[in-house]
């Protein structure tokens, strides 16, 4: 998890003159949590859809 966040760190702009390390980490966490949360729910919705389709075929 931490190494994945480390890989993301390079994508997010960071200027030590105006940013703090905590702010940089939290910025990455905000973007990562939104993507993970939305994709997670999308997978759940897809699973429910596939399950309902399977049950209706029977």
């Amino acid at each position: 998890m931490l190494s994945a966040l480390g890989l993301l760190a390079g994508i997010f702009p960071y200027d030590p003159a105006i940013d703090t390390p905590l702010g940089h980490r939290n910025l990455i966490l905000i973007y990562a949590s939104v993507w993970i949360g939305q994709i997670g729910y999308a997978v759940y919705a897809g699973y429910k859809w596939a399950k309902a389709k399977r049950n209706s075929v029977r």
Binding site: P13, I30, S33, V34, Q38, G46
Partner: protein
């Protein structure tokens, strides 16, 4: 492939394109803020969540009212409204959860605290808890009586929405006033606008797409349940005739 599936895949591709462009605008094109530095980029992923809440919870209210109005008149329309109520409540709750989480991470940097019990944050947490309760009650039983109870609960749940929005004006809060309609100093800088609106459009399109899948799943589940009940009734009647 059906037309609906094709439209969904097309919508999915367009949505990913918009989200990708929004991400580039948010992280590469938009300038850092004079006060918050690069942390201002949090706004591009915090704000769309609240737009999502502002769309899907009212949709849940409308669907619940339609369900209550139609349940004894048109069973198909009522079933569709109930499925929409569930899909919109779940989608709204996802946005609300992510909004609270991103707000907490942003607040830790800007305010020095993860959380504060001010009116805005507290009423928002209450909103989240009420919709969690709504979804828990929905899962308890799958019958018409429970659907009616949930529809009434949805109307009460929505009462917190205007309080959340007005909380920064009614009380003194740590949280700033709304970006839109929050007074003379409200609004966003022109350099930030493309990143804001592309991300709002992208995440809203994503929400509509996923909620439509969830709606289809719930509608099909209810139709399956209805078909099974009809078959059982027919079987009972058939066996009753033969025993007599």
């Amino acid at each position: 492939m059906s037309r609906t599936a094709l439209a969904r895949w097309l919508g999915f591709a367009v949505t990913l394109g918009v989200l990708g462009y929004g991400l580039v605008l948010a992280l590469r094109v938009s300038p850092p803020d004079s006060q918050q530095g690069n942390m201002i980029r949090s706004f591009y992923y915090h704000f769309p969540n609240w737009i999502g809440v502002g769309v899907f919870f009212p949709l849940n209210l409308v669907a619940s009212i339609v369900y209550l109005a139609m349940r004894f008149r048109d069973s198909v329309a009522a079933m569709k409204a109930d499925a929409l109520a569930l899909a919109s409540a779940e989608m709204g709750l996802v946005y609300c959860t992510l909004g609270l989480l991103s707000g907490s991470l942003w607040g830790r940097e800007e305010w020095g605290i993860w959380w504060t019990w001010d009116a805005r944050l507290t009423t928002t947490l209450l909103l989240w808890l009420i919709y969690v309760a709504y979804l828990v009650v929905r899962r308890m039983r799958n019958d018409q009586r429970n659907a009616s109870i949930c529809a009434v609960l949805a109307i009460f749940a929505f009462c917190d929405m205007p309080i959340v929005y007005m909380s920064t004006q009614w009380w003194r809060t740590q949280h700033p006033a709304p970006v839109f309609g929050g007074g003379p100093d409200a609004g966003i800088a022109s350099s930030m606008q493309p990143a804001v609106w592309w991300n709002v459009a992208g995440w809203l399109a994503w929400g509509v797409l996923i909620a439509s899948i969830r709606y289809s799943a719930e509608l099909r589940r209810q139709q399956n349940q209805d078909d099974t009940a009809t078959k059982l009734i027919e079987l009972n009647e058939y066996e009753g005739i033969h025993h007599a």
